[in-house]
Structures are given as C-alpha cells and as structure tokens.
C-alpha cells in the first residue's frame, strides 16, 4: 500500500516536473529576446528558480522599464513561496543546514504535488521528485531556449501554457468535489480566492492578485475560529 502511494507520488512528480519544466524554453527565449544574455537567463533559472518572478523581470527589461521597480515586482511574486514554506515546514521536517538546499524547491508545483498525496511519506516523495525533475528540466530548457531563440518552437504551440493551470486544478479537484466538511470549507476558499485574484488583476501590479487571495483564508478563519 505504502509502496503504491509512493510510486504514484513519484509518477506525479515526474509528470509535473517534465511538463512544467519544458516551459523553461519559453523563459530562455523570452529572456534573450528581452535583451538579457544567455548567462543572465541561466543564472535566473539556477538561483531564482521561480517562473513567475523570472518572467516578470525579463518583461521589465524588455520594456526598458525601471529595474528597481522590476526587481520589486519579481520579489512580490515570490512572496507566496514564503506562505508555501509555512505549510511545508511541518510536512518535510527538515532542520538546520538541510533547509538550505530544500528551500530552493519551495514553489507552486512542488507544494501542489505534495498536497495531493494521501500521507506524509508520499507527500515528501512527491515534493522531492517534483523539485529535482523540475529543477533539471527547467534549467536545461532555459539554456536551450536562450541559445536558440528562433530555432526552438514556442511552447504555446504545444499547449504547454495550459499545463500549469490543469496541474493545479487536478490537484485541488478531489479536495473540492467531495461532500465532506473539508470540501465544504475549501470550496468557498478556492472560488473566493480565484474571484479576488481576477477582480484585482486590472488594478494591482503582478503578484498582488494571487497574494490577495490569501485574505479569503483569513476571512474564513476569523469567521469560524477553530
């Protein structure tokens, strides 16, 4: 039983890691088109390793915008990883210096795959398999995209831009569609979070809409203290 859930966590991690990691081609291409060097694109993927922030900085460089504001916007997009860290801290149970390498893996996809697992052991497996697979794929494809901007096809042609949202949907689905009390609590949080983010999009800088979704959680907790 345990082996089954762990191997299914491994399969999920490999699938998400490779499918989402292929979008590194888009980042590498966008970065070089924006005017970053190949080395700069690769440094961002190696050390920032959080797609939304990387795209945000490249976008500002492309538009010739203010770099300080651009960096601030990229960091704002990274704040949600702090919130994921709060959740993963207990689950991963890493202490001391081991937190240093593990921290680099605290992103949307790893959190999502970990959350989708039925128990802690397979959640840890899901986190690490997703992290390693996505890290390797994302960095390799960043280099490819940056080197061959024109010769590499646009990932949108392959529908890869739909893979991110589909991943998150597939992971939330079983937790939202049940008839249990947990699903009844989570549904308004998910729907409210999505609605708040869309409503805020035209009026707030990138990164803020998704963060504002967390206000919905505060509202639910404060209304029903438990």
């Amino acid at each position: 039983m345990e082996t089954t859930t762990r191997s299914s966590a491994t399969r999920d991690g490999l699938g998400v890691g490779i499918a989402v990691g292929l979008s590194g081609v888009a980042f590498g291409a966008a970065a070089v088109t924006a005017g970053l060097s190949v080395a700069q694109a690769c440094v961002l993927s190696l050390f920032a390793f959080t797609g939304a922030s990387q795209f945000a900085l490249a976008g500002v460089v492309a538009g010739g915008g203010n770099l300080v504001a651009g960096a601030a916007g990229a960091l704002l997009l990274g704040v949600r990883n702090s919130l994921y860290g709060l959740r993963l801290a207990g689950l991963l149970g890493v202490r001391g210096w081991r937190r240093l390498p593990v921290a680099q893996g605290v992103i949307d996809e790893t959190t999502a795959v970990a959350m989708a697992q039925p128990e802690e052991e397979s959640a840890r497996t899901g986190f690490f398999v997703t992290f390693v697979t996505l890290y390797l794929t994302w960095n390799a494809t960043t280099l490819l995209g940056a080197l061959g901007t024109s010769s590499v096809a646009d990932p949108a042609v392959f529908g890869l831009d739909a893979v991110g949202p589909a991943t998150f949907l597939a992971i939330l689905w079983p937790r939202l569609t049940g008839d249990d009390p947990e699903a009844r609590t989570l549904r308004p949080i998910a729907i409210g979070g999505a609605a708040v983010a869309l409503a805020a999009t035209p009026f707030t800088p990138a990164g803020v809409p998704v963060l504002l979704a967390s206000v919905v959680v505060l509202a639910v907790i404060l209304r029903r203290p438990k």
Partner: protein, 104 residues
Amino acid sequence: MSATWWAIVAVCAGCYALKLAGLSAPRRILDHPGVQRFAALVPVALLAALIAVQTFTHGQSLVLDWPRTAGLGAAVVALLLRAPFLVVLAAAAVVTALLRMAGL
C-alpha cells in the same frame, strides 16, 4: 557590474530568502493553531487564484484565450471521468494545441 546584473542578483537572493523564510519560521509561530490553520488552507486559495490568473489574464488585462480555456475544460472532463493525473495534463495540452493548430 551592469545595472541589469545587480537586478538579477537582487531577484535571485530575494526569491531564495523568501522561500527560506517560510520554511525556517520559528517552531513557536508554526505551532500556533491559527497559523497552522492558515498554512493548511492558504495553498488552496493561492493555487485556485493561480488557475484563474494563468488561464484568464495577460499582464493586467482579463482575456479569454479560447484554446487555453478549452484545454482547461478538457481537464475538467478528464477529472469527471476519473482519469489519472497525467492524462488530465495531457488532455489540457493536446486540446489547447489542436485548437491553436486549427487557428482558433
């Protein structure tokens, strides 16, 4: 070092520090029941918000990208049919790609 390199170093260091900050929050804070409840629920709100933002926005405008929306619809159908996780992802990508190829 150019201004662009400084911005890149700042983003790399800052993004890493943000990840580490959550993971290294003091036990005292992590053990607080309110924080535990918040931490348990907040990924649901953020991931749902990401689905909406990645599907229906471009920059600061709301957009309806038909192939991508249909791809997400295909994912919903696959989920209703209880398809395995990877089949759900493949359905979204294939439907989106086919509709783009068809020029929609």
